[in-house]
Symmetry: C2
Subunit: 322 residues, 2 copies
C-alpha cells in the first residue's frame, strides 16, 4: 500500500474535464443581506441547480465514465432512494448504458418516477424484510452490473470535488469553505481541491445534530457508528463515515459542526424568501450553520456549498408550515 492519498487535485481536474459540457457549471450567488446577517462575505455555490438537482451527478458521472468499455456496456447499478439514484440513472443514460436502481418499495413516488424518467430500471424491495446490500450485490452479480457507490470511491470523491474547483476558480482564495457532510464524499473532494490550492483555508463540515457520526469519529479518531439518525436532512441520515472518505477528512477537515432541524428550516425559509432559491433540508445545512452562528470565529471570505434542491412543494409546505 502506498501513502499517497487516494484522490489528488489532479484527479479532480481530470474529473472536471470529463464533466465539461455534461454537468452544469452552477452559479455562485452572493447576497448583501446574508453578508450582514452572518458578518462575512459569503459565496454560495448553487449545486441545487446541478443536473438532477444536486451535486451527486458529478461523482456518479465521473465514476461511470471511467469504467472499461466492456464493463460499461453491461450496465451499472446503485441502491439509493435519494439523489444518488437519479445521478447514476442520468450518468448511465449520458454514457449510453443502462442502470438498475434498487429502491425501497415505500420510496416517494416522485423519486421513483424521476429515476425511471432518466431511463433507469427501478427494482423495489421491502426495506423491513430484505437487506439491500445483499440484494444489490446479488443483482449486480447475476446481471454483470457494476455497483456505483454513493460516496466511498475515489472516482466519486474526485467528481464531487469539481464543485469546489469551480467555486474557487470564480472567487479566488477563500478563508473558509463550509460543506454539508453525509457519507463525506463532497467534503473529501472539496477539501482535496481547496487545501491544495489554498493551504491556509479552513474546511468546515456540517452535519444534522441527530446524525453527527463524522464529528464523533473525528473526535475519537476512529469511525464510530451511531443509530440511523432521525432528521429532516435525509441526505445526511447515515450512521457511519465512509471507509475511504473518513481518512481524507481526518487529514483535511478542520472541524465539523452540527445544526438542528429548526435551524435547517430557518435556512430553507431564508433561501426561499431572500435568495429566491429552493434548497432541500440537507442542501441547506451549510447555510444553516452559518446563519445560526455555529461556525466559530468566522473569517472574512467564506464559501458554502448549497448541495441540493430536491424537495416538492408538498413536503416544503409541511416543513415550513406555510
Amino acid at each position: 500500500m502506498s501513502d499517497a492519498p487516494p484522490v489528488s487535485i489532479d484527479d479532480v481536474r481530470r474529473a472536471a474535464a470529463r464533466l465539461e459540457g455534461v454537468a452544469h457549471r452552477t452559479p455562485v450567488l452572493t447576497s448583501r443581506t446574508l453578508n450582514s446577517l452572518v458578518g462575512a462575505e459569503m459565496f454560495i455555490k448553487c449545486e441545487n441547480f446541478q443536473r438532477i438537482g444536486a451535486f451527486k451527478f458529478r461523482g456518479a458521472y465521473n465514476a461511470v465514465a471511467q469504467l472499461p468499455a466492456e464493463q460499461l456496456a453491461k450496465g451499472v447499478a446503485a441502491y439509493s432512494s435519494g439523489n444518488h439514484a437519479q445521478a447514476v440513472a442520468l450518468a448511465a443514460r449520458e454514457l449510453g448504458t443502462t442502470a438498475v436502481i434498487l429502491m425501497p418499495e415505500d420510496a416517494p413516488r416522485s423519486k421513483r418516477e424521476a429515476t425511471a424518467g432518466y431511463g433507469a430500471e427501478v427494482v423495489t424491495y421491502d426495506r423491513y424484510a430484505q437487506d439491500r446490500t445483499a440484494l444489490g450485490e446479488a443483482l449486480a452479480e447475476e446481471r454483470g452490473l457494476t455497483l456505483i457507490p454513493p460516496y466511498d470511491h475515489p472516482h466519486v470523491i474526485a467528481g464531487q470535488g469539481t464543485a469546489a474547483l469551480e467555486l474557487l476558480a470564480e472567487t479566488g482564495e477563500l478563508d473558509a469553505l463550509v460543506v454539508p457532510v453525509g457519507g463525506g464524499g463532497l467534503i473529501a473532494g472539496s477539501a482535496t481541491v481547496a487545501t491544495a490550492l489554498h493551504p491556509a483555508i479552513r474546511m468546515v463540515g456540517v452535519e444534522p445534530a441527530a446524525g453527527d457520526d463524522t464529528r464523533r469519529s473525528l473526535e475519537s479518531g476512529v469511525r464510530v457508528t451511531i443509530p440511523v439518525p432521525r432528521t429532516i436532512a435525509d441526505g445526511q441520515a447515515l450512521p457511519t463515515p465512509g471507509e475511504i472518505t473518513f481518512p481524507i477528512n481526518q487529514r483535511l477537515v478542520d472541524s465539523v459542526t452540527v445544526v438542528s432541524d429548526e435551524e435547517i428550516v430557518s435556512a430553507m425559509r431564508f433561501a426561499f424568501e431572500r435568495l429566491k432559491i429552493v434548497l432541500e433540508p440537507s442542501g441547506a445545512t451549510g447555510l444553516a450553520a452559518l446563519m445560526a452562528g455555529r461556525v466559530e470565529s468566522l473569517p472574512r471570505r467564506v464559501g458554502v456549498i448549497a448541495s441540493g434542491g430536491n424537495i416538492d412543494t408538498g413536503r416544503f409546505t409541511e416543513l415550513i408550515g406555510g
Copy 2:
C-alpha cells in the same frame, strides 16, 4: 418634437455602465427538462436574483443616478406597494440620498418593512379615500422631491433594457424573447436592445388574462383602459399601457399573449420543483406562456425573462396549495 425614439440601444449601454458593480449580473439558467417540455432551447434570465428581488432596481437606479446633483440631494419619491418601492429606496441609499415611498396603509407588512429596511421613509395613505397621484405630487412639491415613475420614463426604460443586454451577451443571437408586460417598461427596454442587435428577433409580451390592456391596445392601435385587473400577478395589475412605453412597444413588439392564473401557478410550481428557483406570480408569466403553449410556432432558441421572485412562503403555500 423629434422622430427619434425616446430610448436607443446606446442609452441602454450607458445604463449598463452605470449599473456595473451596483446591480447583479444575474445568471442565465438552462434546463433540459424544460427544453423537452416546451420544444425549444430555453434561456432563463433570472431577475428574481436581482437586488431587491426583481428587475425594477435596474430602471430605478438608472433614473436616480441621472438626477442633477442639487435635485438628487433633495431626495426622491415613489408611490408603489410593490417592487418599485424597494427599488427606489435602495437606489436612493446607494446614491447617498433619501427616499419617501407612498404606500397604501393595508400594504403587506413584509413589503413596508423591506422598503423601510433600505432606509426609506414610508408614508401611508388610505387607498379607498385618498388619491395617491395627488398625494404623491403634493408631497413631492412640498419637500422638493423628484418622483421616480415605475415605468413611464426613458431612463427607467433604458435601465430595464440592461437585463436583455446581459442575456444576449451571454447567449448570442436568439430567435425570440419572451417578456412579462405590466406597464411595459421591461419589454420596451428589452425590445430596444434585442431588435437593435438582432433585427429578426421575435419580441413576445405576456400579460395575465385578466389584465390584457397592452394586448388590446396593440390590437386597436390606441391605448385602451380596462378595469383594474383581478389577478394573482399583482406586478401586472395595471389598467392601461404607459404613454412612453406604448409607442415603443407598438413599434418593436410582435405580439402579446395571455396566461391564466392557473397557468401561472403551474409555472411557479415547475420553477420550484425542477428549476429550484422562486418566482412571484408576475415573474412566472413568461415561463407560464411557454409551458402552456401560448406562444405560437415557437422558434428554436428562446429567451425568457423571469422578472421577479418576491413572494413569502405563506403566500406561496396559499397559491400552490401545498
